[in-house]
Symmetry: C2
Subunit: 693 residues, 2 copies
């Protein structure tokens, strides 16, 4: 009964929480000296003697590089070795050639803008049937999202044959911005004399201005039929931390295709730009300017070294993308939109030696970050970081030893520029064996029994990490795999706050009970209340694709008179969700439930279905009006868990084209069907905590 | 403005969650091979060849020791060096002499049973005023809970002068059991021929029987006016894991004072005792009997070594109980009831160098573990592990390298036996610097800005850990201190399930929708649904004792017509709790709130009160009927947070005398006063998650 005993284990262990999202909030509020209890970001005292280094103007900011860059590893000769391997440099070049030769693009290839170009993953059955080292790779196809003369196309590209097949284009919304757009549109306002005059009126030199492209959501017909963006600007004078120096109230509406300034809104004339003093967070800068940073609140933190155990399992990286560790095997890759994709996570059955399916594909599907200030310069800040900016596009190279421990292995990302050319993002993902000094399992017998038993096993896990720096915020995304079969997803928020300028320099200037939409953090600086919702798509295939979603409700059961000295107990009731509607979960503390993904066709030795428990953690709920435009677009946050049948095209909870979308194509609309649930494609809306200063 | 800038930091950082309880549930369901995805506790297949080692009978179980014990450090010569240091060996001996000489105990000192004897901590003002190396220690006093000829006394003992002062005795309930009672009462049933006959009828040799003392709660007048206990027995034949072999349905009611068997309930005649095969979890046993344990699902996990950084902060242990690390200074001690007590946790202000108060005292106050089966042999299982069993009394020596990493420092506990003599529990607490490969703070600039910034600081923390093995369960209690000022409390559940015997060996034998009160885990074994609620008492003194409790409610605010393109936003409203009633918190996901402990007399530079944010995590709610006897006793779980004014005697959320208490003296009764809240004694009911198989 080898089979059933280990099946039992899966559900048995799943108790420990199968997929857990923890809100780490590593400390996203203290850019400087965060790892010491000593320093404040807004620290006037130490400022006096510092000679604020002037920054080059925006366009020249690249001149600020001080460290030589290590030569990136060459990916020119990469070849795919697994059906799920991402497109290689040469495959991207091949796809580019095909697209540029494809009519009507061939008429003007320079008018073709590539918004995304990625592997079109083969059908699940094909991937499951493929045997490493035995079978040839299935045909390689790409899926491209391009724009040509103002029109968007979604195209399947057969890399071998060169065929280009059009796929459906969403009715509303636009593709994810290209990095080229995000960079270039920041310069657009400078071409407008009115903008320059405004900046000068605010007392800022044009050469000190740094701007950010802010996606503007969707607020009605006036914003339709053209791609728009709002540009917000800061003074970078005297600090690398320009985020702390908003030119408040100034919003420039720009046409993304023509770079034309459509409208300038300036409601901030009376609001001073917060001071630069003590906002710079760079360790080296403090070393240079103020001597020993430790004396200025920087604690020299050196991490203890995590040395691998001589006989530990060790992390094995096969063919560049397949990770093997401690019984786990999984495929890992960078993705321009999702950031990091975990595929085919399988865990070894010790009896048979076979790898048993757990998760076919897991990834961040969308982020929704609404700010809670309805005023002119802030109401539209309701970001969807994956679909608007590209969560992977914003992932920077990790810092060895500080972002990941010694002995970590690194994976690069290969992405595509707007002109269709490939580029390499080095060290974008790290994989390492973690030992945090914790206990995996232990038991001591107490003196009650008199047995001298002290058993304890250290907890060693596998971590795959990437960090996306979406402008000011840094999202640290960890997938952690335990030897007992548990998978834990952690999201850490770090980086810098997006703050609002204010005329107030002390709380006593505010009216009683004034709604500042946040907290006065420093002179002229308000931290604005906002949420971070992170949605994960989990395609669970527990022991195969035939999975069901089970809700185990726990409720008070009163006993009958005379039945027991107890009046009540907690009774669990299992219900298999029959439709998508039944699988929509809104969590309630006093109506608790557990959520299992089970394979009803596979039973344990004693007859229970094999399964995993899904544990939402760090949960929060959206409080916005469901009819508020941002909430319609972010309607996938209306529930904490959704379950939809497998559909390869329904990967993005906010829809394929999120930019300026109206919310017509979200998980919330798909899941309103009354489709029978048997073969599962599991969407888990894992909500991060409120952020309120 | 040094003062205010770092004050700002406190509230600023508090965002990151000041005091967080995370439910780790390290994996309390897989005693064997838990750190491998390979083995099941109930694993029939591998059993065939194993020659089950017979165990010596219960009383001789100590003969089973195989490893030589390291010689314990001598504490004979310990002297107290800090006002909060626990009683030393010689102080305990001195207190014992005083008590035994005290009338009326002097007439028959052997009839005096010591249930607890611990430091009577000096008044807060005295402790705060004491200067190390300058002032002499304040007078040392002990507080003793004793029983003499059936009567309980609470006594203050002046160790220098020898004066004994009676303190109030609770109206109901009995003191925490002594370890001597817990051990000896297991033998009581064997003196009863009817019990022995019952055991033989169940086919178990008396020499194989192992029993546990089960606190019986309180269920009405029939159980009053004498100390009672219920004894439940198991077969230890063929396994150290007797927990898996319940002699189901057999409950023996015993008088704790006379050891007399009052009643034997046997409703389990038809229920077989589950098999021993494959239940033993000991690594060495598998090594002996089955060769390489790895071949049997035991993975040889060796933890990577966490080597301290050459220039890292390092853990300093001063005078045995004061821990200094990374700006933190705190006092740490073992406690027979609470397990581990953290006192005077202070964090260094980098500007002034002074240590600023954060937490005067923090500890687990009570645990409540109600099982959810109303039947005769289970309804009473509603444990209060601290007040009934002694959470510290059940803490066993930690296993170096497996329970705590290399380089951990260890603290012993000095406790008191029923006869008043001291004994040492070695290596009961460990303290270590943790590096888990995580990031404390980081920021990269994305290509949007073109600035080549990649700042990242590794996260290094201090962990203080103890583990209580309350019979089958092992609670791993961590207090973690971060350099940014955050304190995190983690509870991990490990060990072995308390299971119920059943006639079923397969689920297909059960009726449709039959309420089994749990899940069939293996042949004849049900895991019974239960909760674990862990309550912490936190006496926060943020920058001094004058603290207030602030509730920040977040709610939807609709905009006025024409005010904004947004229809709604989230508005935060701060309310200072005026009474204990106002500070009672029942968490709701869709009515979210934050909870701050602030010092209204200390303001940040811009005018915000200095404070800490308290973040309940891993929360759950009790679903029992409030009028159910166990819930009346566990009424301190009715809310997730309570706040009461400082009262040194209100330390135990379930009352001083929990055993057989009726729930008249719990946090729920104290907090129903309408007392003004200004000087805070903060009770946080941190609820652990539901446990339902």
């Amino acid at each position: 009964m080898d089979h059933s005993t280990s099946l039992l284990r899966l559900i048995f262990l799943a108790l420990g929480a199968a997929l857990v999202l923890l809100v780490l909030r590593s400390a996203f509020h203290l850019p400087r000296g965060i790892d010491t209890p000593t320093t404040s970001l807004f620290d006037a005292a130490a400022a006096a003697g510092s000679s604020c280094t002037r920054f080059a103007p925006w366009g020249c900011r690249k001149g600020d590089r001080t460290k030589p860059k290590p030569k990136p590893p060459s990916h020119e000769t990469d070849v795919p070795r697994h059906p799920l391997d991402p497109l290689t440099v040469s495959e991207i070049n091949r796809a580019r050639e095909i697209l540029r030769a494809h009519p009507p693009f061939a008429s003007s290839p320079s008018s073709l803008f590539v918004h995304s170009l990625a592997l079109d993953e083969p059908e699940k059955a094909v991937v499951l049937g493929w045997r490493r080292g035995v079978d040839p790779l299935p045909p390689r196809r790409a899926v491209a999202v391009v724009r040509f003369r103002g029109e968007a196309f979604v195209l399947a590209v057969d890399l071998a044959g060169g065929a280009v097949t059009p796929l459906p284009v969403p009715a509303s919304g636009y593709p994810t911005m290209t990095m080229d757009e995000q960079v270039s549109l920041c310069f657009a306002p400078f071409a407008d004399p009115a903008f320059n005059a405004t900046i000068r009126r605010r007392g800022v030199r044009l050469s000190d201005v740094a701007c950010l492209p802010i996606s503007l959501g969707w607020y009605g017909p006036t914003e339709e039929n053209r791609r728009l963006i709002k540009v917000q600007c800061f003074s970078a004078e005297g600090t690398a931390n320009f985020y702390m120096r908003p030119i408040e109230g100034l919003t420039v509406l720009v046409d993304m295709d023509t770079a034309e300034v459509i409208h300038i809104s300036d409601r901030g004339a009376g609001i001073p730009i917060p001071a630069a003093a003590n906002t710079d967070y760079r360790y080296a800068r403090h070393m240079q300017e103020e001597g020993d940073p430790a004396s200025n609140g920087f604690q020299k933190v050196r991490a203890p070294s995590m040395e691998p155990a001589p006989s530990g399992p060790g992390v094995e990286l096969v063919d560049g993308h397949t990770v093997r560790w401690g019984g786990w095997e999984l495929h890992l890759k960078a993705d321009a939109r999702a950031g990091m994709v975990v595929s085919r996570a399988r865990v070894q059955d010790p009896r048979t030696g076979a790898h048993r399916e757990v998760l076919y594909k897991g990834m961040a599907s969308e982020l929704f970050v609404p700010y809670m200030d309805p005023s002119e310069a802030w109401y539209f800040k309701t970001y969807m970081d994956a679909g608007e900016y590209g969560f992977g596009l914003q992932a920077m190279p990790l810092v060895p030893l500080n972002d990941c421990p010694r002995h970590a292995r690194y994976l690069d990302g290969v992405f595509v520029a707007a002109d269709g050319r490939p580029y390499v993002r080095e060290n974008m993902i790290c994989v390492f064996e973690r030992y945090a000094g914790d206990v995996a399992w232990r038991h001591s017998e107490s003196p009650i029994t008199g047995m001298d038993i002290r058993e304890s096993r250290p907890k060693v896990t596998l971590v795959a990490r990437m960090v996306a720096s979406v402008a000011n915020y840094d999202y640290i995304m960890d997938w952690e795999f335990q030897m007992d079969g548990l998978i834990r997803i952690k999201v850490g928020l770090s980086g810098i706050l997006m703050v609002k300028g204010t005329a107030y320099s002390h709380l006593n200037q505010a009216r009683d009970n004034e709604d500042m939409h946040g907290t006065l953090l420093s002179e002229n600086v308000i931290g604005v209340i906002h949420d971070h919702f992170v949605t994960f798509r989990l395609d669970m295939d527990v022991d195969g694709a035939n999975n069901s979603f089970v809700r185990v409700d726990m409720a008070r059961q009163e006993t009958s008179p005379g039945e027991s000295p107890r009046r009540s107990y907690l009774k669990a009731t299992r219900r298999v969700a029959r439709t998508e509607k039944e699988a929509q979960v809104r969590l309630k503390l006093y109506e608790p439930a557990e959520f299992h993904v089970v394979n009803p066709t596979k039973k344990t030795r004693v007859g229970n279905p094999v399964g995993y428990k899904v544990v939402p953690a760090g949960t929060a709920a959206t409080l916005l009006d469901p009819e508020d435009p941002p909430q319609k677009r972010g309607a996938f946050t209306n529930n904490q868990i959704w379950v939809t049948p497998y559909n390869k095209t329904e990967e993005w909870a906010g829809g394929l084209f999120v930019y300026q979308s109206k919310g017509e194509d979200t998980l919330a609309s798909w899941a309103d069907r009354f489709v029978s649930l048997y073969l599962l494609d599991f969407y888990s809306i894992q909500l991060m905590d409120y952020y309120c200063i």
